[in-house]
Symmetry: C2
Subunit: 216 residues, 2 copies
């Protein structure tokens, strides 16, 4: 009788353990997709104050005339950008949006390693923020090899990809039909990290000066 | 003794069933990520003949002077586009690339339901393929509500999203630094399907004419 009880207890123990493992495995598998962030933002964005995103700890309420406390495509975009804690690799054709420039300067002042690749023609246009970033000490390299450096992507902390049709301009944000994808999917993020590295090396001014020297 | 055996057999049976379920669950969870297609294409693309992608069954070798049998970013792009079997929803700012126009016309002639949303200003430019698509009987709606319809995305069979910085022009494909994401990730595809539907309804000419009637 005692042996039968042993068999029962051991049997039930194994069943319980096995079911627990299965449950854990199921929960783990279910949680896996939830951990990969995906978000799509469409523009034009509603216009709203974004001061609280820059200064979340401020006790003074913002007195500007824009709507407050409204979450928009642009405020989501800004939050993802400002989530950077270690690095920001930015590769963008047109960059004249003041709030986005402020965001990049804020990250730089927080000690985030910022690298920017810009289109050389657009960088020279009035209103372009590329010169402002350079003056603040941010590493900027202008594309020298193609007709047009038409990318509009950012990689945050080597983890989060922000990319789409949206140039970093006020017109794009407030007037145009645009899209931005935000994703942590490794298979999408990694190729952009690799391409940024390739373009960064390719547009190294030292390399460029060297090749000019060879020509003369 | 026979009862003990029954307990043993039933116990082992339950354990075996439970372990099998766990194994199945594990295999299912492991396979899940492999099934979701993700691909990133960078441009400019190498130039190569794409005739074999349009006519894979042809026994006549192409005699053009371009390199043959080379897989490029553009040929990958074209393959994904031509994989459509039921529907193609296309929302693109600039569309003048002849091979891409041929691809859309090919899908239309195969019975694929093609819908195109185009920017009204770019559609009127010389070289734009929008008029060619319209003449072939493809449903085209021009954006009437924004400063610029700047999207460059396609949804294939309500399943595959093709989007990025790349306009559908020869310059973008052959000269510019550009990116295109190809993904089946539902969380990324679904918002684009919804946005296409919204833009399609918003730019319904009937609705537009009606609102003009109201004004006059």
């Amino acid at each position: 009788m005692s042996m039968m009880w042993t068999v029962k207890v051991v049997g039930l123990g194994v069943v319980a353990l096995s079911l627990s493992l299965e449950l854990l495995g199921w929960l783990f598998c279910r949680r896996q997709p939830e951990r990969t962030l995906h978000e799509v933002l469409f523009f034009p964005s509603k216009v709203a104050c974004v001061e609280h995103i820059f200064t979340p700890a401020s006790t003074h309420p913002c007195l500007c005339s824009l709507p407050h406390g409204v979450e928009t495509s642009f405020s989501r975009f800004l939050r993802h950008l400002l989530s950077a804690t270690s690095s920001l690799d930015l590769c963008v054709f047109a960059f004249s949006h003041m709030a986005l420039s402020r965001a990049v300067l804020t990250l730089h002042s927080r000690g985030v390693a910022v690298r920017v690749i810009a289109d050389k023609d657009y960088a020279a246009i009035t209103g372009s923020q590329i010169g402002v970033l350079r003056k603040a000490g941010i590493c900027v390299r202008c594309d020298v090899g193609s007709v047009c450096m038409h990318h509009k992507f950012a990689v945050v902390d080597g983890r989060l990809l922000i990319t789409g049709s949206l140039n970093w301009t006020l017109t794009a944000v407030q007037s145009n039909m645009e899209n931005v994808l935000v994703t942590e999917e490794t298979e999408l993020v990694q190729p952009f990290i690799k391409e940024f590295h390739r373009l960064w090396e390719f547009n190294d001014p030292a390399r460029y000066l060297h090749s000019s020297d060879q020509k003369t």
